[in-house]
């Protein structure tokens, strides 16, 4: 029905249009074509002039109206250091092109009006003028030279990579369908290696976990950067092209699969400062940019004002598929102190998600930090035991001393804690300890008894090899007779399989 009505409407419009056409043709037949043409020249000459005036007024007025929403102007000056040179180039270009725009549009429509045809009037015969041609070749050429030199000067400075050895914060943005994955280098300041073949659900960037530089890298959900520090963004893509676009910072660079790109910039305005600019008041105490004082949620006047909720944003500026329009991340520019604070709260992705899991290729090595951490823990517990009064508190489990299954061979990583124990025995020359081996209740009791004795003995001989006097060490085996947890669960059995020592003298 609607379709029918629409069709009928269209047909009616067509008929009306055709009738208008017919009427005007009829009129010109009656009045003579010459006269009609003269009248038409007069009318459309006037329209040309009118159009020119309205058009120029509309362009200038609308530009002024929208001035404060555009980047470059009002509160929207560049938030990065290099951005001002680009904004300056824009202004200079706008100045020159603006002049040409206004002059040529005026001349075009003014001439159209001025030289509208009249019967009997003769046109000028003016086929060419070489002097004029030279003038309007040279002037644009000179202006272009000026713009090219200025533009390239800015371009080469902005696009230069960092010098080797220069102090810079390197971060990484990886585009995928349809979000950005961010990576920071962690305390070592270096981003670890990646291999796209290693990408999986648990390893979204394909980080190579055998590369020690990857160990401390972390994956925040927002970009945090300190003000005034040079930043190099390493830009990559996982699937199709994306574009790392920070409008407020004049940063834009394609993310290309298989070819990392970069952009170097220095933030110069913190998020807080930018908010203040947007929310600024004029001399009368009125908001300078009233639109920024409206509530974020128009239906709730109590919600924060727009300038208070402002955040820098990271967007995608290269068509990447159906979700292209929503690849948003928040960017926060903060003071040096706040940045350090934030950094200290970040957790290494590897340590929090990969370490010790099946995906971890480093299960049989300990990282320096882990060794230190474990040593600290052991020493703390030992100190506590030494200062404790009651007998029960004098027994400590060697939680990181382990044996191969059903064997008395120490695992490789057990050496670290045994070394710590040897160091402690050297530190406290009067200390004597009783080492004891324990098993869970699976298997034959005799075998367990034997195994626990052998294991305690093994630890003892390790310490003796490290130069500890045999007289300070006793080694006993208890089989499964002294469980510390239930043997019904795997977790409990694991706790029961242990090597302990008891401080017998100090």
């Amino acid at each position: 029905m609607t379709a029918l009505l629409a069709t009928i409407c269209l047909i009616l419009i067509a008929i009306i249009v055709v009738q208008i056409g017919k009427v005007t043709e009829l009129a010109s037949k009656i009045r003579g074509e010459q006269e009609v043409q003269d009248q038409s020249n007069q009318r459309h000459g006037n329209y040309s002039l009118l159009f020119m005036v309205l058009f120029l007024v509309a362009t200038v007025a609308s530009a002024l109206y929208y001035k404060d929403s555009m980047l470059w102007y009002g509160p929207n000056e560049s938030a990065s250091e290099h951005g001002s040179s680009l904004d300056y180039m824009f202004d200079i270009t706008l100045f020159f092109t603006g002049i040409v725009f206004i002059i040529t549009q005026i001349l075009l429509f003014y001439f159209a009006w001025k030289y509208r045809g009249q019967t009997g009037q003769k046109a000028l015969f003016m086929p060419h003028d070489n002097r004029l041609e030279v003038v309007w070749t040279v002037i644009p050429a000179v202006v272009m030279t000026f713009l090219v030199v200025g533009g390239l000067d800015a371009w080469n400075e902005v696009m230069a990579d960092v010098d080797p050895g220069e102090e810079v914060i390197e971060i990484e943005g990886t585009g995928y369908q349809f979000a950005w994955h961010l990576r920071y280098p962690g305390p070592d300041g270096k981003l670890g290696a990646r291999d796209y073949k290693m990408i999986s659900g648990a390893n979204p960037l394909g980080q190579v976990w055998t590369d020690p530089k990857n160990v401390d890298d972390f994956h925040p959900s927002e970009i945090y950067l300190p003000v005034g520090k040079k930043v190099r963004v390493r830009i990559t893509a996982r699937d199709v092209l994306h574009n790392f676009y920070l409008p407020h910072f004049r940063v834009k660079m394609d993310a290309v699969p298989g070819m990392p790109t970069y952009f170097v910039f220095t933030p110069k305005t913190t998020t807080e400062e930018y908010r203040q600019k947007l929310g600024a008041l004029d001399v009368n105490g009125e908001p300078k940019y009233p639109e920024w004082h409206e509530p974020v949620d128009p239906s709730d006047p109590e919600s924060p004002k727009r300038y208070e909720a402002f955040d820098y944003e990271l967007a995608c500026a290269e068509l990447c598929g159906k979700g292209h329009y929503a690849m948003r991340r928040v960017v926060k520019i903060v003071s040096e102190g706040e940045y350090e604070d934030w950094l200290s709260k970040q957790q290494s992705y590897y340590m929090s998600t990969i370490r010790g899991t099946e995906d971890d290729p480093n299960k049989d090595i300990l990282f320096e930090s882990e060794i230190l951490e474990r040593r600290q823990e052991f020493n703390d517990e030992l100190e506590k035991a030494l200062s404790a009064q009651e007998a029960a508190a004098k027994t400590l489990a060697l939680t990181n001393v382990n044996f191969e299954a059903n064997s008395a061979d120490l695992t490789k990583l057990s050496a670290y804690q045994l070394d710590d124990l040897a160091d402690a025995l050297n530190k406290y020359p009067n200390m004597a300890i009783e080492l004891s081996g324990h098993t869970d209740n699976t298997g034959e009791p005799e075998f367990n008894q034997q195994l626990s004795e052998q294991r305690a003995q093994k630890v003892k001989s390790y310490l003796v090899d490290k130069g500890i006097s045999e007289s300070r060490l006793t080694a006993l085996g208890f089989g499964s007779t002294r469980p510390v947890a239930s043997n019904d669960t795997e977790d409990g059995r694991q706790q029961n399989r242990r090597t302990e020592f008891r401080i017998t003298a100090q």
Binding site: F51, T104, L108, A123, L132, W155, K252, Y325
Partner: protein, 617 residues
């Protein structure tokens, strides 16, 4: 309107041709059977350049309506994303998803398909085939004084390859997975991997096949245009006596011939990557939960190949429009085009430079920033010949006796658009400024004004001006003028505000803007643009009605040369048959722009120089 010619010029022309013309014994051969003997050879598989021109034009109009209608649908999405779109479900089917509350919304995949098809259709089918195909075909033989194209048969094939190409593209609109949706530039990997987007499967395959046929069409046409201009000019038609239209079509054809094959090579490599497991453009990709085997390719390589065509392509679009406008302005201002030689040199300079600026589309795509220096320099140099052309057009109006017709209005409108859109190119061509403006609405505003709207204006100027030559009738002038004012105001209303969006950083190709606080603050402007687009589209319907109505019912042409023009096409009979001139071929005695010379309103090119008269240039 036909007001100038009152004398019976008809006879005068025939006499001049009879006296000075060249007898090529054309009509002693029996072409009739081969060319225009029955309905099929006259209207369908025609080898007559005038009929092929009409075929290109009407096919181009068909595509223009489809392409513009697509833009209305995605403009509705951008202007009114919350509005109910369920009413269009009968047309778009599953691409409109209706929620429980009965509110229909456009699927993002299809939004991107519409944007992509809009670009592809407008750039290739409308502004390349529809514009250059129409007017090169119509005017080259007529204006250089040839019986037809060098190879009428290849010329016919050129149209039918275009038709085939269009048919395939049209079919792709109805695929279950939708047409290609990765942007008209079809950058891999998005275009190369079916798993990257639903349109990158069968949709992309058909897109590629369609455009390969399209390139065949362009090349067949281009070879013909070049050969005809070089070899079939009539006696006396030296290169420096050719109208600017012919210069523009000639250079356009050369650009097409040199650049389109590079596009085909890029397409073939994409096909290899898609089907044969090669890695020209693919490297280190993890998609759909899977790491692909492709390593070592570069998506940037595709961009180089694409834009090696892509940039000349925009001149392939705009040069013919420039040629048409130069001719129309001169005829209706009753003045010679100002600085004819400077105009020709500008066309040549623009044509040459168009081949060494392509990477200005790629400043932010990861190419070495050092390389960009050269492309900035060459790009901004193009501003110089472009400025020369603009100043010459304006100087052509100066001191004229301008006859306002729909055609001349559109020619003036073209100059206005070309200024507005050309100047913004100076921003974008400067890589430093492009960092911020690249892929924002500023770019959309720039290229729509300078090569979209401006090229359409050139095309409209050409259609209104040469319509009598094509159909022996006039289009209605009043409707044409209403069409003009509606379109120029509407087009500026649509595209001017987009500069502001771009300057606020709003990226193009966004399905909606409210995901970002920075981009979501221009609802009112987006609504305004959408409404302006709908109204402007309405004015185009006026043109369509006028066009088809006038074919059968328009005012009849009563004299051969209604505009009082000097060029050869107006010396043929009103409804010229195959071979264009019934008797001898006209010979050319002077350049094409003797308007107002020595007190005469115009002197046709076939009229010999008077005693003591010096030829102008």
């Amino acid at each position: 309107m036909a007001n100038v010619v009152t004398k019976p010029v008809v006879h005068e022309d025939d006499l001049l041709i009879e006296e000075y013309g060249y007898d090529d014994h054309f009509h002693e051969h029996h072409h009739g059977d081969k060319y225009q003997s029955n309905f099929i050879t006259t209207y369908i598989f025609s080898q007559d350049h005038k009929m092929i021109a009409k075929q290109f034009l009407i096919t181009g109009m068909f595509w223009a309506i489809i392409g513009a209608a697509m833009s209305l649908i995605f403009r509705l999405q951008l202007g009114f994303p919350e509005e109910n779109m369920a009413w269009i479900k009968p047309l778009l089917g599953k691409w409109i998803t209706v929620n429980d509350a009965g509110v229909g919304s456009l699927a993002p995949e299809f939004y991107y398909a519409l944007v992509t098809m809009h670009g592809t259709i407008l750039v290739f089918f409308v502004l390349t085939a529809g514009l250059s195909g129409t007017f090169s075909n119509l005017l080259i033989p007529l204006q250089v004084g040839a019986r037809d194209m060098a190879s009428p048969f290849l010329n016919m094939l050129s149209y039918w390859f275009f038709f085939l190409s269009g048919t395939i593209m049209f079919l792709s609109l109805f695929l279950n997975t939708g047409p290609f949706a990765g942007g008209w530039t079809a950058y891999p990997p998005l275009s190369a991997l079916p798993q990257a987007s639903s349109g990158s499967g069968a949709g992309m395959t058909l897109w590629l096949v369609s455009l390969v046929f399209f390139v065949v069409s362009v090349l067949l046409g281009g070879i013909n245009y070049i050969t005809t201009v070089l070899n079939l000019r009539t006696k006396g038609m030296t290169m420096w006596r050719m109208p600017l239209t012919i210069w523009a079509f000639f250079v356009t054809a050369i650009l097409g011939l040199l650049s389109f094959p590079v596009l085909v090579s890029a397409f073939l490599l994409v096909m290899f990557d898609r089907g044969l497991g090669t890695s020209f453009f693919l490297s280190e990709i993890f998609i759909g939960g899977q790491a692909l085997d492709h390593v070592g390719g570069s998506p940037v390589l595709y961009q180089h190949l694409f834009w090696f065509l892509g940039h000349p392509e925009v001149y392939i679009i705009i040069l013919p429009a420039m040629g048409l406008v130069s001719e129309v302005l001169s005829v209706h201002a009753r003045k010679p085009i100002f600085g004819y030689k400077a105009m020709v040199y500008s066309i040549l300079a623009i044509g040459f430079l168009s081949f060494i600026v392509w990477a200005h589309h790629m400043f932010m795509s990861g190419v070495n920033p050092f390389i960009s220096n050269f492309f900035v320099i060459f790009t901004l140099i193009i501003a110089v010949p472009s400025a020369v052309k603009v100043f010459n057009w304006i100087a052509t109006l100066y001191g004229g006796n301008i006859r306002f017709t729909a055609a001349s209005l559109y020619a003036i409108g073209f100059v206005s658009m070309f200024i507005s859109g050309g100047l913004t190119g100076i921003f974008l061509g400067n890589s430093a400024i492009d960092i911020q403006l690249h892929d924002t609405y500023f770019v959309v505003a720039h290229f729509h004004i300078v090569m979209g709207v401006a090229a359409f204006f050139g095309m409209f100027a050409g259609i209104y001006h040469w319509y009598p030559k094509m159909f022996g009738r006039f289009m209605n002038e009043t409707l044409g003028k209403i069409h003009f004012w509606g379109t120029i105001i509407g087009a500026y209303a649509v595209f001017w505000p987009m500069h502001y969006l771009g300057m606020a950083g709003v990226p193009r190709r966004y399905y909606r803007f409210d995901s970002f606080a920075a981009f979501g603050q221009f609802d009112a402007m987006n609504q305004f643009i959408t409404i302006a687009a709908i109204v402007t589209f309405g004015f185009q319907l006026l043109f369509v009605i006028n066009f088809f109505y006038s074919i059968w019912k328009g005012k009849k042409m009563t004299s051969r040369n209604p505009w009082g023009a000097t060029t050869l096409e107006w010396t043929t009979p009103i409804n010229a048959g195959h071979g264009n001139w019934p008797g001898k071929l006209p010979t050319v005695q002077r350049w094409a722009y003797d308007y107002g010379k020595d007190g005469q309103e115009f002197i046709p090119q076939i009229q010999p120089l008077g005693k003591d008269e010096k030829e102008s240039h």
